[in-house]
């Protein structure tokens, strides 16, 4: 075919199907439109039981890249530019379109699932779902395998991130940042409401003085995980985290939602409620809080891990099958696995960096930074955290449904 076909794989398939059926005015009037329409629909329908194949990589001719990411998750300067991405552009010539459209794992998956399942472009060449969601994508064959030749810096990965059952050698997913969930609170408002300095255990969130001022994450594994750990369940262990234990935690949260103690269950947008004062204490992600303080200009919010522990997970780079700029995406990962760049990024986003050597670079940038337990946690600090165990399909469906039903008040 000698026409210039659209770049988007879905459109391309549709145009190809249309051309193959030669839709002419005569054919349309002759009723051939029905068969063409069927062909068009067929082009959109999933091909049964066939393994997906990677889209053609146009990186060499097109130095661009679209990156979908969570909000407050890359360094931003006062003018709204992204310094590390500009550095990346000057080093590689690749122009990155950076999108902060990843608010919640489930809703992002819901949005792009159909394209993923067909191996089509999801509108992003690279994105960063949380590890359990990345595991789902890998298990279903939705993502491309990295070419390690483009990723020399992969050797800097913290060994702790290797050996995961879904991707033991990290050939399809690479951690971007480690995330810690705990309690975030508005220091002044918390003190004036409860008379205490900081919440320490889950019970502190159920203080009647905080009724209607509590927010929790819509990320099931963090919110339910923290409640489970408060109940003495170890969430990484299938013998301890049973369906009964999970549903028990769901009942506790559901009770607190229905009696109005918990007012909001949200994804990344929980930050707005902390800023406008609607929420006083929230189950939240550590790095966001430090950035909110930077925006506020003073230490307005505090972040603590509950005494019973907080949850830990990682957001991982993945390249969907339909991505057409794989090599550029690999260059981007390689860039952020350079210890210096990782240190600059960590200094801004304040999440746990998975890159070996970043701490040494951070000491050069700012010695105080290297002592920050939220970026470079010690063994002792990490012992307070647990990761949520892998769930099988039926469990995941049942757990997700139970958690969502709290949100719907049913």
């Amino acid at each position: 075919m000698n026409q210039n076909l659209p770049e988007d794989p879905q459109l391309r398939e549709m145009v190809k199907a249309a051309l193959a059926h030669k839709v002419t005015r005569r054919a349309v009037l002759g009723g051939a439109v029905a068969t063409s329409a069927a062909a068009l629909l067929a082009a959109c329908a999933p091909a049964e039981n066939s393994a997906l194949t990677p889209a053609t990589d146009v990186s060499d001719s097109d130095p661009s890249l679209i990156w979908s990411n969570w909000s407050l998750y890359v360094d931003v300067d006062d003018d709204g530019n992204y310094p590390t991405l500009e550095k990346f552009k000057s080093e590689t010539g690749i122009e990155v379109t950076y999108r902060e459209d990843f608010d919640d794992n489930d809703s992002y998956y819901g949005k792009v699932k159909d394209q993923l399942a067909l191996g089509q472009d999801i509108g992003a060449d690279i994105t960063c779902p949380t590890s359990w969601m990345a595991a789902r994508w890998i298990n279903q064959g939705f993502v491309q395998t990295f070419d390690d030749a483009n990723l020399p810096n992969k050797k800097n990965l913290q060994p702790a991130y290797l050996g995961e059952s879904y991707d033991p050698q990290r050939t399809k997913s690479l951690p971007y940042q480690g995330i810690l969930a705990g309690f975030a609170f508005d220091k002044e408002a918390y003190k004036s409401a409860t008379g205490k300095e900081a919440p320490a255990v889950l019970e502190d969130l159920w203080d009647p003085a905080l009724k209607g001022r509590i927010g929790v994450l819509s990320e099931m594994r963090d919110t339910v995980g923290i409640v489970l750990m408060d109940q003495g369940v170890s969430i990484g262990d299938a013998n301890s985290l049973t369906e009964d234990a999970f549903m028990n935690a769901i009942d506790i949260i559901g009770q607190k939602v229905s009696d109005g103690q918990i007012a909001r269950i949200k994804g990344n947008s929980y930050k707005d409620d902390l800023v406008n004062g609607d929420t006083i204490v929230a189950i939240a992600w550590s790095g966001d809080i430090i950035q909110l303080n930077a925006e506020a200009g003073y230490d307005r919010f505090g972040f603590v891990l509950p005494e019973s522990g907080g949850t830990i997970s990682a957001d991982c780079f993945v390249i969907p099958m339909g991505a057409t700029h794989k090599k550029n995406a690999e260059k981007l990962m390689n860039f952020y696995y350079d210890p210096y760049n990782a240190a600059v990024l960590a200094a801004y986003v304040n999440y746990i960096t998975p890159v070996v050597g970043a701490k040494e670079e951070a000491i050069k940038l700012d010695p105080a930074l290297a002592d920050n337990q939220l970026i470079f946690p010690s063994e002792e600090f990490l012992s307070l955290t647990q990761g949520f165990r892998a769930l099988d399909g039926a469990e995941e469906q049942a757990f997700t449904k139970a958690f969502q039903k709290i949100k719907l008040g049913a």
């Binding site: 489930d106 209607g212 269950i265 406008n276 399909g393 969502q404 949100k407 049913a410």
Partner: protein
């Protein structure tokens, strides 16, 4: 004018179908093809998805084609309160919008008739909120009524609200938001029918010794009935399916979730597509039945 679709005037004498049949078919073809491709096909696909069953071998959110009619009973028993809430909120917001819009439309359409400039200015003001995105306007109300806002703290100080009571997330806030967002859809059809109101009928009414309130009940309301009906339909139908105002991210909370929120959660979070589709079909069916009953009662059945 679209808003005259429900007027009760008798249709003109019909054109004989036999003579012009072919031309009519050719002229209708693009419209029918459009409806077939973009309305009927998705509708059939929606109904088919609503009957799917979970894939016994598949993972999270995977379904296979089936004829599982029990999906409908399951969603009705699970989400009955949300259905009632949706229609309750829609009814309340529609009535509120009517009560607010009627005097406004009457003023613009009848009282302001001698001043065309004023009339145009006021109409522009009615539509003015549409110059700003629906989402932004709704978020603005959320800020205005946020827990630490002066409105809420003042209401708490004068004892109207308890110190642990807030406005955002309550049914009041959601109905308020719905009413606010859909008022122009009520005002404009009311305006178009009141604007043509022949005031000589009103004079005749008072000449015949009817009190002003009786003139209003016996003359003004019946004459503006087409506007009332199209206005209430244009507000009630979208409100019943609305999911922005009641969403926890905007004005609602988990205790105000409407059917739209349930459908959204089932599609995007729980990935229970059959349940979400069954709910969508039920919502469509319920609205269709309610509207058909309403229009029939209002005496315009010959236009349906």
């Amino acid at each position: 004018m679209a808003f005259t679709a429900f007027s009760s005037s008798k249709p003109k004498v019909g054109i004989k179908p036999g003579k012009t049949g072919k031309v009519v078919i050719v002229l209708l073809a693009p419209g029918l093809a459009y409806l077939g491709a973009f309305f009927l096909t998705p509708l059939i696909s929606l109904i088919m998805v609503s009957l799917q069953a979970p894939d016994p071998l598949g993972g999270f959110g995977e379904y296979v084609p089936a004829l599982q009619f029990s999906n409908y009973f399951v969603v009705i028993s699970e989400y009955f309160p949300h259905m009632m809430r949706s229609f309750g909120y829609a009814l309340a917001a529609t009535i509120l919008a009517l009560v607010i819009s009627y005097p406004l439309a009457y003023f613009i359409g009848v009282k302001a008739r001698p001043y065309p400039l004023l009339q145009k200015l006021m109409l522009t003001l009615v539509i003015a909120p549409f110059f700003i995105s629906f989402l932004l306007r709704t978020l603005a109300w959320k800020q205005i009524f946020s827990n630490e806002s002066w409105i809420v703290t003042t209401l708490q100080q004068i004892g109207f609200l308890d110190s642990d009571q807030y406005v955002v997330g309550t049914p009041f806030m959601v109905i308020f938001g719905l009413t606010y967002n859909f008022i122009p859809f009520m005002t404009l059809p009311l305006y178009t029918s009141l604007e043509r109101l022949d005031t000589r009928y009103l004079e005749a009414g008072s000449d015949l010794y009817a009190s002003p309130s009786k003139v209003f009940r016996k003359v003004t309301i019946p004459l503006s009935m087409p506007g009332i009906i199209s206005g209430t339909l244009l507000t009630f139908i979208p409100i019943a399916g609305d999911y922005i105002n009641a969403s926890g991210d905007f004005l609602g909370s988990s205790s105000t979730a409407m059917l739209g929120n349930v459908i959204e959660a089932n599609y995007l979070q729980i990935n229970d597509y059959p349940a979400a589709s069954a709910l969508s079909v039920l919502l469509m069916g319920a609205i269709l039945v309610l509207v058909a009953g309403y229009v029939k009662k209002s005496g315009t059945e010959d236009l349906l």
